[in-house]
């Protein structure tokens, strides 16, 4: 339990005490707690949680925390509040957690789900839900469509309580600002929770019917498959990221200097995007743009990329084709649309003296202006075999000097703010030479030698 703030500890303790307090009535002699139903549901929830834990069943990705919400909602419909509190506890205590500290996270998750299920069950009972499910005694039929009303209300309460507790732990443990903690949480999850509630309601109705619990379990199968596919989707998404990295790695094979550069430019682009308040999907695209900005070097002959000494005008022209080659290589990747423009235009300058098209000012796509700043920043701060890297403040100063002529001042300002806030780890900023090639002192291929017009990169050794 080390590494947790006092406020978070207090919150977790509070939640655990509340959950225990809610569960106590179930143990009193006159409670008539349906232990059989409770045991079955808890065991089922445990089984649903296991694939996330066990590498053999679920693979490297967890099945997503949505997989068993239908089950928790069904428990809220079927059980009194004091029993519903207990359903999620075993599953949450053995479930998989993403990060350390694992024990604290598991305890918190168990308490959170227990309180949420308890609140949902209380709501359902308060609105007279259990009677509408039918089949309790004397084979009464379920009261549809009225049964949908308490079910949907229960889903809303479930969603709200879950979001409130999520936000609370973010504020106390992760020190997220109060204004940010609850942003978008309830709105995003209400829809899925309503769907889960419909599945849970059907499950509860069949559980009470003459067909028994087995038929009720089958209701969960589509939901479970859906969540499994969702996990697959995330896995494939990760594989896709690796493939993008492999494209960059292919550049590294040809040109040892770019080693790590692309990743860092991606990270710096993301910092700027976050500072500018871009939405999540564009931020993702911008990171890809940063990572892939130099992919066109694949089209430049290796001999030219690795050349020692000054370049002839002919070779320079060949190198300046790399944005266009890059645009051509990623042409077939549908989702990159805005990022493609960044790859094509990341060497444009605000005053119109850049290449390939000499665009000026706002004609340069926003993404390209971000990547240009990130690219120049990393080129200055990373250590090359022929010169040491500059300290971050000096590099920012240089960027500010060129803002307005070469870079968009808004992007430079955003990067400066982001660096003040998050810092910049220079851990990966060392040159690793290619297999067996010693790092001879040589000039970087795409840096213009002095006195051949405007500098391609600010802050070259003069």
């Amino acid at each position: 339990m080390r590494g947790i703030s006092g406020a978070a500890r207090a919150l977790i303790l509070c939640a655990v005490l509340c959950a225990v307090g809610c569960a106590l009535p179930a143990l009193s002699p006159g409670a008539h707690t349906p232990w059989g139903t409770l045991g079955l549901l808890a065991a089922l929830h445990l089984v649903c949680e296991l694939p996330g834990r066990c590498r053999l069943l679920g693979g490297p990705e967890p099945a997503g925390s949505g997989s068993f919400f239908p089950l928790l909602l069904a428990a809220a419909f079927l059980l009194p509040p004091s029993a519903a509190v207990l359903v999620a506890v075993p599953g949450a205590l053995v479930g998989r957690v993403e990060r350390r500290p694992a024990a604290a996270r598991r305890i918190w998750r168990a308490a959170q789900l227990a309180l949420t299920a308890g609140a949902a069950s209380w709501t359902h009972g308060f609105l007279g839900g259990p009677v509408t499910l039918g089949g309790v005694a004397g084979d009464t039929l379920p009261d549809f469509p009225y049964a949908l009303v308490p079910a949907c209300a229960t889903a809303l309460v479930f969603s709200l309580v879950l979001a409130a507790l999520d936000g609370a732990i973010l504020v106390t443990a992760e020190r997220v600002a109060l204004g940010h903690a609850w942003r978008g949480l309830p709105a995003r999850s209400v829809g899925p929770h309503l769907v889960h509630a419909l599945a849970g309601l059907m499950m509860a109705v069949l559980w009470r019917s003459s067909y028994g619990p087995l038929s009720a379990l089958v209701v969960l199968l589509p939901m479970y498959i859906s969540c499994w596919v969702f996990a697959q989707y995330h896995r494939r998404h990760a594989a896709h990221r690796n493939t993008i990295r492999a494209l960059v790695q292919a550049v590294d094979i040809k040109d040892g200097y770019t080693r790590g550069h692309s990743e860092r430019v991606g990270r710096a682009s993301e910092l700027i995007a976050r500072e500018l308040g871009m939405e999540e999907s564009r931020m993702e695209a911008l990171r890809f743009a940063g990572i892939l900005h130099d992919v066109g070097k694949l089209g430049v002959p290796t001999r030219v990329l690795r050349k020692d000494g000054p370049l002839t005008p002919e070779e320079r022209r060949v190198i300046e084709l790399h944005p266009e080659y890059g645009h051509e290589i990623v042409r077939g990747i549908g989702f990159l649309d805005e990022a493609r423009a960044a790859i094509l235009h990341h060497h444009e300058r605000l005053d119109g003296s850049g290449y390939p098209y000499g665009l000026a000012g706002d004609r340069i796509p926003e993404f390209a202006r971000v990547v240009a700043v990130a690219d120049a920043f990393d080129a200055m701060t990373s250590t090359r075999s022929y010169r040491p890297g500059r300290p971050v403040p000096a590099a920012v100063e240089e960027l500010r000097r060129c803002a307005g002529s070469q870079f968009d001042p808004r992007m430079v300002g955003a990067l400066a703010c982001a660096l003040d806030r998050h810092g910049w780890s220079a851990a990966a900023n060392t040159v690793t030479s290619d297999e067996g090639r010693t790092g001879l002192p040589r000039q970087r291929a795409d840096v213009r030698p002095p006195a051949t017009g405007p500098a391609d990169r600010p802050g070259r050794p003069r």
Binding site: L201, P222, N242, R245, G334
Partner: protein, 416 residues
């Protein structure tokens, strides 16, 4: 997929059977009228709406209309509604499904994207099979005597579902329309059942049980989770497409770098998958083969100067092996199946040390290198390969390649 011009007799027989069943059912229903029209209408609407959800289906999707399939299954397995016995028979089930499919296909056909005759025939026959297994037993009261109205009845329904799924797999394998033998096709179909199939079957059975308990209100409530499943499957398919595009871009990078001739990776991938199919490789291995064929030249990026025309076949064996190992190292980074990297690494080895996929990639790559552009020197290239079957290329692979080329069985896939 290569489509033969004339459908084989098995396909014609299936289409004919479906047509006969549909016509008989329609005639019977017209003659005798509809029993319980409310239920017939509700399920008809459900199937029609499910069929309309084909909008936005990606090409090659296994079950583009899961809701339609589940609704049709539920109607075939429906024995009670809201606690009362139902009285519709097998023929009415078929009538409702056929009518709903016809109605839903109007807008699709208008756009020229309707379900093929094979898909429609499969749906009709599978539903007729399920109804034939269930309705007579239910009407004669046998199912109640044997299974009661409790958990055993639910088990019986799930057993019927499994049988129906098997029946559908057999029909799908018979109408697959490839020149492969029936056994591997059926195996592929049964493997593919692990996708959205169980979700469809489970929803169908639960709909039948749900309607038996609650009446028709169960239908909209149970539709929503299945629609969600369909949405997740589509998202997954979309990310898979993006992934393939990225792999293809990675493969094209050698062309843009001037190491390989234009379109070489795509050509080798198409031809290699055709040869793999000819040799009867199963679906997953074909995917591995395709990715490996796309990326087999990645290692050339490590060369300082391009090989003339990218023809690695002309290089010294040691150099070829070095390129293959470097390529394998890049492929390992991509997060594809590690089997792909193994195939890429092995492609310069003599065929006796290789897996089947690597043998195919090696032979097809050599063929494309020897041909150069166009298929003018195709016979000469095959001649060269045959001369190399002592050590480099497996004779069976070369012969399969010759058969594929002789058929002209190469559908040009658009470069990704």
């Amino acid at each position: 997929m290569t489509r033969p011009v004339h459908p084989p007799p098995a396909v014609l027989a299936i289409r004919g059977a479906a047509l006969v069943v549909a016509v008989v059912a329609l005639a019977h229903t017209l003659w005798n009228g509809v029993v319980e029209p409310g239920h017939a209408l509700a399920f008809g609407i459900l199937v029609a709406v499910g069929e309309l959800a084909r909008w936005g289906a990606l090409p090659g999707e296994r079950e583009p209309a899961p809701l339609g399939a589940a609704g049709a299954l539920a109607y075939a397995l429906l024995g009670r509604s809201g606690g009362q016995d139902t009285a519709h028979g097998v023929l009415q089930v078929v009538t409702v499904v056929v009518a709903a499919q016809l109605l839903a296909s109007v807008p699709h056909v208008a756009r020229g994207s309707g379900p093929g005759p094979d898909q429609a025939a499969r749906r009709v026959l599978a539903v007729a099979f399920a109804a034939l297994c269930f309705q007579p037993l239910h009407h004669s009261g046998r199912s109640e005597r044997w299974f009661g109205e409790g958990p055993h009845f639910a088990l019986f329904l799930f057993l019927l579902l499994v049988l129906t799924a098997l029946c559908d797999a057999v029909l799908a394998a018979a109408t697959a329309g490839t020149a492969r033998p029936f056994g591997p096709r059926l195996r592929d179909e049964l493997r593919a059942l692990s996708g959205i199939g169980p979700a469809v079957g489970a929803t169908g059975a639960v709909m039948a049980l749900g309607v038996a308990v609650v009446g028709l209100w169960a239908l909209p409530v149970l539709c929503v989770p299945l629609l969600l499943t369909q949405v997740s499957f589509r998202r997954y398919a979309a990310v898979r497409t993006t992934y393939r595009q990225t792999i293809a871009s990675l493969a094209r990078s050698t062309e843009i770098a001037g190491y390989t001739p234009h379109g070489h990776a795509r050509r080798v991938a198409d031809l290699a998958t055709a040869v793999g199919r000819e040799l009867g490789l199963p679906g997953p291995e074909l995917t591995v083969l395709e990715y490996a064929a796309l990326m087999h030249d990645i290692g050339q990026l490590s060369l300082v100067d391009p090989v003339a025309d990218g023809a690695t076949t002309a290089l010294a064996a040691a150099e070829q092996r070095r390129i293959a190992l470097l390529g394998g190292a890049v492929v390992r980074l991509t997060g594809v199946d590690p089997a792909v990297a193994v195939v890429v690494e092995q492609q310069a080895d003599p065929y006796r040390d290789q897996q089947t996929s690597a043998r195919i990639v090696r032979a097809v790559n050599a063929y494309d290198d020897l041909c150069g552009e166009g298929v003018k020197g195709s016979l000469r290239a095959l001649e060269q390969l045959r001369l190399g079957t002592g050590h480099d290329y497996q004779p069976q692979v070369v012969e399969a390649l010759a058969r594929v080329l002789a058929r002209g069985g190469l559908t040009r896939a658009g470069a990704g």
